[in-house]
Symmetry: C2
Subunit: 178 residues, 2 copies
DNA sequence: ACGGGTATGTCAGTTACTGACATCAACCGT
DNA sequence: ACGGTTGATGTCAGTAACTGACATACCCGT
């Protein structure tokens, strides 16, 4: 169904395709669609829980001597690495989202959820508030900036950037801020 | 209408009140409600554009020798100061939002919009990307954390905290991160 | 063969929102 | 005073996102 949905969103746009359209192309009923996805938007955010858990685990697994910010960054790098090799799909998806405010809202909610569980992971590492929240949200901001750069990067021939590198560059820019 | 809406949201909750309910209590038609507010959620985010512009102006008006992060922080402090003296209303509002994911999405969108225009202001100050985005989003994160603390602070008798102080504390915590 | 669990179809209902059109009052220039 | 314009509102019909209730089919272990 995800494939069917993305196809239709690319063809006619998100608002112009109804849940019934997606269901029809996928060969099921509209009701069935809503049993698999809480709402029409959710179909574009399938992997988010996986990414969230990956980041959480990576933060807990990070070396104990890492600073809170570095641990959080390790988390978002691990999460972002899940998208490695799926750049074209990520680009299509991000174009769909960029064209629709309600999808941007959902994306922000997912990112906020990731930041919240990252903060939770930091807290179990012994980081106190508000440092945990601040480090987690900063790391997610770095993720957003690095990820956007990864998507927009020209890849002419020789230098295929990977997600981790882009995030590391954004992290360096954040540190330069102080 | 805003007053009518907040009343009903407190009485029965957000989902349990229909747009028609709000309109009725306000003495207008449902159609009229939707002419004033783009959707039912928007009724809780009336002041956001004002706050956004205030932050933007404050960033442009900040001393030229301020660092990007400090300029952005000056912006969110100016924006947050608009809420000074309306703490009880802010608390009621934030409880309503906390109880409803779709309202959280909208709030995140507004905060992201504020971060984006703050980044724009930094750019006209000559700050390059990605520093502008990173500083702006970091400042908004600091705003969130400081604002939450302002809302939750116990105010027994002697020490009424103001918004700017809470944000400054959160900013200090962010700097301590590096 | 049977009973239970899980995925799906069917159908009716609610609600958020939108477009088209009518109404009405305030206001403006002559 | 009068006709015209403008802006806010009411009315009504329609679309589409969901939801709950119920029926049906399939699959699996006994």
């Amino acid at each position: 169904m995800i494939r069917a949905a993305v196809e239709l969103f690319v063809e006619r746009g998100f608002e112009q395709t109804t849940a019934g359209d997606i269901a029809e192309r996928a060969g099921v009923t509209e009701r069935t669609f809503f049993r698999h996805f809480a709402d029409k938007r959710e179909v574009l955010f399938d992997g988010s829980k996986t990414m969230e858990r990956t980041a959480y685990d990576a933060i807990l697994a990070a070396p104990a001597d890492l600073s809170p910010l570095d641990a959080a960054l390790a988390g978002v790098v691990a999460g972002g690495s899940l998208l490695e090799g799926r750049r074209d799909h990520a680009i299509r998806r991000s174009k769909i989202i960029a064209a629709n405010p309600s999808l941007q809202e959902r994306e922000l909610l997912k990112l906020a959820a990731m930041a919240d569980t990252a903060a939770e992971a930091l807290r179990t590492r012994g980081v106190a508030e508000p440092a945990a929240s601040l480090a987690a949200h900063s790391a997610v901001t770095v993720f957003q900036v690095g990820f956007a750069h990864w998507l927009s990067a020209e890849v002419p021939a020789e230098e295929p950037q990977d997600v981790a590198t882009c995030i590391a560059q954004a992290a360096a820019a954040l540190r330069a801020l102080t």
